[in-house]
């Protein structure tokens, strides 16, 4: 459940000097077949120390790309503009050597598919020690000891025996724990979990999420959860950002977002989650249509073609993201009112 965070709980737009991560007007462009695609459109948010933030959206919403831009993990073809400051230090535009300095050490990432994210031909222990020795000049023996510590921290049983095993000898959940161990190797201040539980079954998902939160409390990290799963966001985070078509469309403290949904898109996402109390055999509500092509941006609100509340103004004029209620931002001309969709 959402833990009370330290100072600066919930984000303000101008988190300022206390913010761990301060992202402003971050945009990412790709060249594809001569056309330019805008994958991330002027995204602004902050992350406070020890805060848990969820970034929610469907595939292609730009949630992964924006975080990878912060880590510096995008391919060279990507053009990144804007600012992302980590503890005051600008990350965008850093040289490769500087990016490597900070990757893994200040910010670490856990990826979606642990089966493919671990090198199949390298022993897991080596993969963990590699992460350690990338930033700390320790001997092999010390690195090995530290790796075993990390493996038990993420609750892998018999870590010293399993140190020399290969990834395929572990189950999916265990592999994800290994990924977490790798990410934690150098005590990052910020951990980004990119769909970290998506490829796991529900029970394992819960276990991994509990692990992540315990580790967060134990190590005092901030955590960004990237997901398409609103349930996850609701259950585990302090604050939520909803992204669509490369931009932020709603952001608020979790409680507030879910009790006072404003964006029709967020509303539709909520409704699309299967509920136990729906009448039997009723059709699942889906959001018709598809997200816009990032290479061919539309005028007006990007969600307008699919929005049940859209009117003329929506198609002509893109609504700005603004703090319409204290702590609660959204970008809509005709937001939902309390008490269900209007």
């Amino acid at each position: 459940m959402s833990t009370g965070s330290g100072p600066g709980a919930g984000h303000g737009g101008i988190g300022g000097s206390t913010a761990l991560l301060d992202v402003r007007d971050l945009s990412v462009r790709f060249q594809r077949r001569g056309r330019e695609a805008l994958a991330v459109n002027s995204v602004t948010f902050t992350v406070q120390p020890r805060q848990t933030l969820a970034i929610v959206g469907e595939s292609g919403s730009g949630k992964t790309v924006s975080c990878r831009a912060v880590m510096g993990l995008l391919p060279p073809a990507a053009q990144v503009t804007g600012s992302a400051r980590f503890q005051g230090r600008e990350l965008i535009g850093l040289s490769d050597a500087d990016i490597r300095q900070h990757c893994g050490r200040d910010v670490a990432m856990v990826f979606q598919d642990p089966a493919r994210s671990l090198n199949p031909t390298m022993r897991v222990g080596t993969q963990v020690t590699e992460a350690i020795r990338a930033h700390q000049p320790v001997s092999r023996r010390d690195a090995r000891d530290r790796a075993i510590e990390l493996m038990s921290l993420v609750r892998i049983p018999l870590p010293d025996r399993r140190f020399a095993d290969y990834p395929h000898q572990f189950s999916g959940g265990m592999r994800q724990r290994l990924m977490i161990a790798i990410a934690l190797a150098c005590h990052p201040r910020l951990l980004i979990a990119d769909e970290a539980t998506t490829s796991l079954d529900v029970t394992t998902q819960a276990q991994i999420m509990d692990l992540l939160l315990d580790l967060q409390a134990q190590l005092g990290m901030a955590l960004i959860l990237i997901s398409h799963d609103l349930g996850l966001a609701a259950a585990y985070t302090d604050d939520v950002i909803v992204m669509y078509a490369g931009g932020i469309v709603e952001q608020a403290p979790t409680r507030q977002l879910f009790s006072h949904v404003r964006m029709p898109y967020t509303q539709a996402l909520l409704e699309a989650v299967p509920q136990l109390d729906r009448p039997a055999h009723s059709p699942l509500p889906v959001i018709g249509g598809r997200p816009p092509d990032p290479g061919a941006p539309l005028a007006g609100c990007p969600f307008a073609p699919r929005c049940p509340r859209a009117r003329e103004r929506c198609r002509e004029d893109a609504p700005p993201l603004a703090e319409q209620e204290p702590g609660h931002y959204w970008a809509c001309w005709f937001p939902c009112q309390d008490g269900g969709p209007g």
């Binding site: 490769d96 050490r105 994210s117 031909t121 590699e130 990338a134 020399a164 572990f170 079954d201 276990q207």
Partner: protein, 345 residues
């Protein structure tokens, strides 16, 4: 998928350095199966050779005695060499001999085939090995350097060079090398072979130009293959992103992660390509006057010396089959997914 009851499973799972000794059933079964499959292939090859040699006009007796011999003399020799017996009987005899370890004797020289092989085979094998080493030692570093920056200068240059290199015929390359290094620069011998017993330096010198002629075009092929695979790994595979996210440098990501996985693909191709290498070696031996098995083959075909031809073909086929098998086996040993089996709890 059940919830994680990930207790270390009991059972014959190898672990750690000592585990290497336990090449349990999967690998051995693989070997056994492939060997069994190889036998009909080898049998087919020998049969085919016999058929082909048989279909050729003329026979060994005529070749030995020459054009001036009388029909009676030829007939007499034929009977002595058992050439008058029907096809199946002759093949049967030969096959029986092989299975009991006797490869027969040459029609022309009477020499035991096994001793011919013992004399000539090592030369060819040494040439092949040398060429192979050259090809790998060129391909791996060049491909890695090229893959470091796809589209960069090193990459483009090496791709152009390797495309040119693999378009050159080995025999042309051999002649060009002879012209440059033997005729003009005079630092390497054009012809002849020095055996190991005559000194290792001379031995290597005499094989250098032939090995380069053989190895360089193949090296170019491997370079392109490896570079392509490396780039694919670096751009497409998730574990590469994980590695980069750890903050390790691009060279290390390339060599410690991508290269490992790409070398597997290369091993298989190397095994498959050995047949071509052998064929090219025959011609190279001719150009450089190396007393290898290629020369023996050419002469024996000329002389209709079926026994020797069969033996050489059998040796070639065995080498090809074994190389293919060795590649598969190496794969099985090196790829931990096969070696340790799929034993996720």
């Amino acid at each position: 998928m059940a919830a994680e009851a990930d207790v270390a499973p009991a059972g014959p799972r190898s672990r750690g350095p000592a585990g290497r000794a336990v090449l349990t059933s999967p690998a051995l079964r693989l070997v056994a199966r492939r060997l069994l499959l190889a036998i009909p292939v080898l049998w087919g090859v020998t049969l085919l050779t016999f058929v082909v040699m048989n279909l050729l006009p003329g026979n060994a007796a005529q070749e030995i005695l020459g054009a001036s011999a009388t029909p009676a003399e030829v007939r007499a020799l034929e009977i002595r060499l058992h050439l008058n017996e029907p096809f199946w009987i002759r093949y049967g005899h030969w096959l029986g001999g092989v299975l009991s370890g006797n490869l027969g004797s040459s029609f022309t020289s009477g020499q035991q085939v096994t001793s011919i092989l013992a004399q000539r085979l090592p030369v060819t094998l040494e040439l092949l090995l040398y060429a192979f080493l050259i090809s790998v030692c060129v391909a791996v570093p060049v491909a890695t350097a090229a893959a470091r920056r796809p589209g960069g200068i090193a990459d483009r240059l090496s791709m152009v060079a390797s495309m040119a290199g693999l378009s050159i015929a080995p025999y042309v390359l051999g002649l060009v090398l002879i012209y440059i290094f033997a005729v003009r620069l005079r630092i390497l011998p054009a012809l002849g072979y020095e055996s190991l017993s005559q000194g290792i330096a001379g031995n290597i010198r005499s094989l250098t130009l032939p090995a380069i002629s053989l190895g360089l075009p193949i090296a170019c092929f491997y370079t392109r293959l490896l570079r392509s695979d490396l780039v694919e790994q670096m751009q497409g595979e998730d574990y590469v992103v994980t590695a980069r996210a750890k903050g390790i440098g691009p060279w290390q990501v390339l060599t410690r992660h991508a290269l490992r996985n790409s070398l597997f693909g290369l091993i298989t191709v190397i095994g498959l390509n050995l047949g071509t290498l052998i064929g090219a070696a025959v011609i190279i031996e001719q150009i450089f006057s190396l007393p290898g098995i290629g020369q023996v083959l050419l002469q024996s075909i000329n002389n209709r010396d079926v026994i020797v031809v069969e033996a050489v073909v059998l040796v070639f086929a065995v080498i090809v089959v074994l190389a293919s098998l060795a590649a598969d086996l190496l794969y099985a040993v090196l790829d931990p997914r096969i070696r340790y089996g799929h034993s996720a709890a």
